[in-house]
Every structure is written in C-alpha cells, then in structure tokens.
C-alpha cells in the first residue's frame, strides 16, 4: 500500500469495468426493488417471485411485508443490499445515498434507474423501464399504453365539466393541525388528473395550515386518506373551521386509500377515475 490513493483509484476503475461487463445480465433471478411504484409494477407484471427484497416505501400489495426489507429508500445500506446476493436492483429516482448505490454497482449488481414523478408521462415510462429490466417488454408496453389510454380517456370525459371543483387535500389532522398538500405533491397531481383544482396551488409540498387559512381557502371538497382523521373519529367537519367551508355545508368529504390514491403505479388511472366520479357524481363516468 505505498500509493493507496492511486491504488483505490485504479481499483475503482477496475471495478467499473467489471460492472459494465456483467450489466448485460439477462433474466435476473434475484431482484431488490426500491420504491413503492417500482414494486407495484413488478407485482402487476406477475414477476414477484423474483423479488429478493423491497424497501419501506413498498407497501402495496400487502404481500410485500413478507419480503426482507432493506430500509428507507434514501438510507440504503450497501452491504445490507449485497447480503441478499441480488443480481439486479430496481432503483426509483431519488433513492440513495449515492455512495451506497456506487458500491452496489461496483459489486456487479445491475442497477436499473426507474424514473420517479407524478406526471402523465412519467407513469408509462416507469412501467416500460421495469418491464424491460425483467425481460417483459411486450407486456410492459401493453400495460403502459393501457395506462396512457385510460388517463387520456378520463381527461376526455372530464372535458364536459363546467365548474371545476376546488379540493383541499388534508394529509393528516394530527394534533388538530391540518397538513395540506400544495403543488409538487402526488395529491396535487391526482386532484388535477381527476379534473379538479387544488385550492393550495401556489404553495409547494405539504404544509401545515392554520385553521383560519384552511377556512379562507373555501374548498368545495375535502380529500383525505382513509386513516388520516382518527383524531375526530373520522369526522373532519366536527372542526368548526372546516364546517364553515362550502365542503362542510354540503358534507363533501372524500376518503380514499393512501397507497391507491398516491402510489403513482399501475393502479393510478383507476384511482383517478374513482376520485373523479366521486367529485362529479352527476357526470356518470364509466366505472373502472
């Protein structure tokens, strides 16, 4: 070890070379899937038998709980992942830390980056990427086009809507303080896909609101997750500030399963359609 820096540098180069060689591995047998949507797509393709492990954001379908869990998507342990002797890792964008990903790559595991995001374009791209990695291109293409077609069909049907509903998405009512969704969130994207308007557009991310502000936004509908409102026995309108809004006067509260609503996986077109049909019951949308 006389020139350790040079040595580690040349080692890194050597490792990169080796990794590049093995990157052509077809038909992966042991796949670690990092990211809820990626995992859901693997299941939708019926390839779950190849899964060696998932991360903590992979919550659907419930069977994922039986698989080894490598921890939070942003705090992966290189040795932890390698100890499962995978031959491929599906990595949703934003997974990390980069050091761990580099080491996993250096150990000869094929790293497949799956695009993340909440856009109409990102979703089919996610599906195609995962399907291609698993050697199921044609099924992936079919599933991706079906997702695109379904979303486009919904948009077309929603074209008839005259007055867009104004929706306030409340992530939680913990501690009696509403945590609401602004732009750049999965909830905001779903509200728009369902032909409605997010009353908190203009703010980014999930933000704690004062009751006064929540009331002043005058939402037509409150959207919540199935388990977001335990604090008030699920009755958000027991809170005076929400009761005073148009949503409160008309008792319009929509609750949906969190992973179904916000997962941005293969079930998203169905979730968007369900949300839209509950927002616009008069429109008589086709049921998913």
């Amino acid at each position: 070890m006389r020139f350790p820096v040079l040595r580690s540098l040349s080692l890194a180069l050597a490792l990169t070379g080796l990794a590049a060689q093995s990157a052509s591995a077809q038909d992966p047998k042991r796949v670690v899937s990092i990211g809820g949507a990626a995992t859901e797509i693997v299941y939708a393709l019926g390839e779950e038998k190849r899964l060696a492990a998932v991360d903590t954001t992979s919550l659907y379908p419930p069977e994922t709980k039986a698989l080894p869990n490598v921890g939070y998507i942003r705090a992966l342990s290189a040795e932890g992942v390698l100890s499962l002797s995978p031959d491929m890792i599906l990595l949703e964008d934003g997974a990390g830390p980069p050091e761990a990903v580099k080491l996993i790559d250096a150990a000869g595991v094929e790293v497949v980056h799956v695009p993340a995001g909440h856009s109409v374009e990102a979703l089919p791209e996610k599906i195609r990427t995962v399907a291609h990695a698993l050697g199921r291109d044609s099924d992936g293409n079919a599933m991706a086009s079906k997702v695109s077609t379904d979303l486009a069909a919904l948009q077309k049907e929603l074209g008839a809507v005259k007055a867009r509903q104004k929706v306030l998405f409340i992530l939680s009512l913990k501690d009696d303080r509403p945590l609401a969704a602004g732009e750049d969130t999965a909830a905001d994207a779903m509200i728009r896909l369902a032909g409605a308007q997010n009353v908190l557009a203009g703010t980014k991310g999930y933000k704690g609101l004062s009751w006064e502000a929540a009331s002043a936004l005058q939402p037509d509908v409150i959207l919540m997750m199935d388990r977001g409102g335990e604090a008030h026995g699920g009755d958000a309108f027991a809170l005076p500030a929400l009761a005073a809004t148009p949503a409160g006067r008309n008792k319009r509260l929509i609750k949906m399963d969190a992973l179904y609503l916000l997962g941005f996986g293969p079930r998203t077109p169905a979730a968007a359609r369900e949300l839209a049909s509950r927002l616009y019951p008069d429109l008589a949308l086709r049921q998913p």
Binding site: A14, E79, L82, E99, D184
Partner: protein, 357 residues
Amino acid sequence: MTAASLAVSSTDTGDRTRTGRLALILLALLLVLTAIVSLGVGPAALSPARVVEILLSGPRPSEANLGDTVIVWQIRLPRILLGCLVGASLACGGALMQGLFRNPLADPGLAGVSSGSALAAVAVIVLGGGFLDSILGPWTLPFAAFFGGLASTALLYTVATSQGRTAIATMLLAGIALGALAGALTGFLVFLSDDRQLRDITFWSLGGLGGASWERLWTCGPIMVAALLASPFLARGLNALVLGEAEAFHLGLSVQRLKRLAIVIVAAGTAASVAAAGVVGFVGIVVPHLLRLAVGADHRFLLPASALLGAILILVADMAARTLASPAELPIGILTAILGAPFFLWLLLRRRGFSEL
C-alpha cells in the same frame, strides 16, 4: 460530582501514572481486537476464514469473488477506519473541551461546530448546493458541513476574544446564543422542506457510517489524524489549567495560545468527523467521563485514552447498526447512546456506592 473527581484525582496523580499507562495499552489492544472482529461482522455472512482469504488476495477482485471483495475491501475496511477516526476525534475533542472549559458538561458542540455544521448541511439538503453541486456533486454535503462548522467556530471565537484575550465564559454563552440562532434557521429550513428532505435531515442528524468510502477516508481522515496527533501536546497545559487561568498563567503557561490551539484542534477534528458521518452524539461527552472515573483526570493519559475508547465505542455501535436491522441499517447516533448511557449510569451508581462507604 465530577468537579470532586477532578480534585481527588489530581491529588493522587502519582498513583495513577501506572494505571494510565496500563489503561492505554489495554485500550489499544482492545481497539485492535474490536477492529478485527468488526471486519468479520456484517449483514453479509462471510466466515472469518473467507474474510482473511479475501484480505490476503488483495483489493483487486477476480470475477469469481467480486461481491465479497467489494464487501470486505470497499465497504467494511474504509468504514472501520473511518469509524475509528470519527470516534477518536469526537471523544478526544470532548476531553479537550472539558479541560478547556473546566466544565464536565462541555462537549465538542460547545465550540459551535455542531450547530454550524447542521445549519450548512440542512441548507444543502433543502435548498440544494447551487453552484457547489456542479463542482462537488455528492461531496457538497460533507464539504458544507465541514466549512459550516469551521465558520461558526471562527465567529464564536471572534465574539469571545477582545484585546488578544479569549473569555471562556463569554464563549460558552455566545455559543448558546449562536446555537439557538442556528437552530432557528435550521428550523425554518425544516419548515420549507418536503417529506423526503425531512427524512434526509433526520437521518443525517442521527449520524451514520453508511457513506464511508476510501475517497471519504482520504479527504476527511487526514484532518482528523492531524487533530488527534496534535492534541497530546496540549495535555500539560490543560493539566495546569485545572488550577485556574490566573494560576496557570503564573506557572508560565501561555493560556491564550493554549485556548487558541485547543479550539482550532477541536473545531477541525469535529467538523471533519461531522462531514464524514453526520452528527454522532454522546461519544464526546461520555467517553472522557468514563475514563476520568477509571484513569483519572491527567490529560496526558485522558486524551489518548479517550481517543482509543471513542474509537472502540463507535466500532461496537456500528457493528450493531449494521446487523440489528439487517438488511437495513440503524442510525449510529441511537446506538452510541443506547450502548453508552446505561454503562455510564452503572458506573456513576457504583462510584456513589464507594464514596458513601
């Protein structure tokens, strides 16, 4: 209680010299042993024979044992070395600070490093590194943490120094004020953050050696090594300072020089360790205490012994961090406290029993 232990141990220094030497030898042996065991422990099941085989066959992997070679040479080895340096720097920095402030509650954070590092790191996580990102890439965060820590120490030192004299009490109070200010700004950034950034912040502030690599060792390591090698030269000065600043001055000690050196050494060592592993609490405050109970307050032994025990504590905590939740990984800051605190309490209780006899 610890003030009493300082007073007691300084009277029987004569008796403690042999104890001190013995403790250093034992701790060094224990550290080597822990490091070796550590190399064989992890989520990937490698037999000791396999680890030795891979170590002997060198860092260049053959196609057949690519995965295992990466685990031993690229993951475990740099991680263990970096862990040793981080633990040693934090514990030794704690001992220096406690000596300098003559206060058993001092820790490396008092020099302002932790709050400045945290503010800079959280700013990078939430706001992004800006132009730094394009130059440094993944190095932006450690880079910001290091210089954020140094900058806040420099500010603190300037505030507390007038006419060439640093008032330690002012530094302590200014440190609390600056810490509160940095904490508030950090809190504001947390308010701006999204869910992922928030979790990044949480993980960073609980520390972890998951980012260890040879590159990180070569960049952060030399600073920590330099700080560790420099600290024993302050031992005699800190011993004299126990008597009081004026008394130390009349013993012929350049008190101002001692303060400046100690602050620079602690700031550099701590900032580098924070850059390498995030915020790892508890080591800096408890390790020197444990050793003061065991080997006495003589800094000639206390400083190197703290470094050794700090390294051992981090290695043991990291072994637990890597294996307990395998294949996931626990933040190391939780484990240093879980391992250290009960042991420390037990020692305190035992000691109280003695003093009541």
